[in-house]
Symmetry: C2
């Protein structure tokens, strides 16, 4: 397909698609002459992924590029998700305090989880704990434990379902799927939590 069709299939303007090409977010099509290039389904899929990452996950294009680069380089689900996670943190200005890092370590140990020291997600979690402290509403260790405990079955099911999807070797589409699933399911999780909060709190309020 040509540029015009690619643009309409992805719901973007030609100018925007060109912009993504320039920015290296979308690989160029196969040139069939000096003024023509052919695009295929992978390009459509890539564009949809880009928009999902920006619109839903709220990533900036710079982060999207890093995630995409990470996907290219990864050769396992674990690598791909790790690469994506590495780029997802909201570029922390302040480094986490040793105290909150220690709390994160404790939680990891309690769950039997291991993470390389200095791992970005550990730092991101520690930073989040610091922010809650700063604002005057620290989170308790008990709550942290509860979070980890409750998320366990969710994550096991998520990981299992991805591994069911693939047959033997990981192909590009699967790695992409892993990242999409991981990132785009986050809003689902948060939405359900919000809905649950409103219900639980209303029930308590009514009960009074």
């Amino acid at each position: 397909m040509w540029m015009a069709e690619l643009a309409s299939r992805s719901g973007l303007s030609v100018a925007t698609v060109k912009y993504y090409l320039r920015e290296g977010l979308l690989p160029s099509g196969t040139a069939t002459g000096a003024t023509r290039a052919a695009y295929d389904e992978t390009h459509v899929r890539r564009l949809r992924l880009i928009r999902a990452l920006t619109d839903v996950a709220g990533l900036r294009l710079e982060s999207v590029r890093q995630v995409l680069d990470g996907i290219e380089a990864a050769d396992s689900w674990h690598d791909a998700v790790g690469a994506a996670h590495t780029r997802l943190g909201t570029a922390e200005s302040t480094p986490p305090t040793p105290g909150s890092l220690a709390r994160v370590d404790d939680m990891l140990e309690a769950q039997g989880w291991q993470l390389a020291p200095g791992h970005p997600q550990a730092a991101a979690l520690a930073h989040a704990l610091d922010v809650l402290d700063d604002v005057g509403h620290p989170i308790s260790d008990e709550m942290l434990f509860l979070y980890a405990h409750a998320l366990r079955p969710i994550v096991m099911r998520e990981v299992a379902s991805v591994h069911l999807d693939e047959r033997g070797e990981l192909i590009d589409a699967d790695v992409e799927a892993a990242v999409i699933g991981t990132v785009l399911q986050e809003p689902v999780l948060l939405s359900i939590r919000r809905i649950a909060q409103e219900n639980v709190s209303r029930k308590l309020t009514e009960g009074t």
Copy 2:
């Protein structure tokens, strides 16, 4: 305290604080003359809340203002959280499809939850489901149920802890606390999920 102290206490520049005043995010201090106004702890707290909402929750200032307005108007935890949630959705361009709305309704019913039809969070969830469909990785009803089920104990504990904080009537600080807690705990939840994913997936990979 005067402007200079307010700025340094909140870690912002005088110019930025003035900007927030102009934008109506921060109520003006009590004027003690034509060129002087006194600020207090509520102003410091408000500034910290604003920064937490922008930096951590990633809200734009326009959304922050709406959340703050919602807090002002609310007279219960339930109202305040509802008001905050209303403004949190990533302004969806496309309305959700009837199909996904129906799936959300089913999930609500299965959980015994009630939400007014057309409630923003229901729409946001439906929209998230649509996006996953569009990208070619729909989420199963089973997974939805699992999410809701796993989040139950978390939410019950969260709501309970807020209600323990207050004594009788809700005061401003408590309502603020509810919103802070709800919004700023989201990154904690997501971070733990990411950490868990990496661990679970690595264990599976190693097991192979």
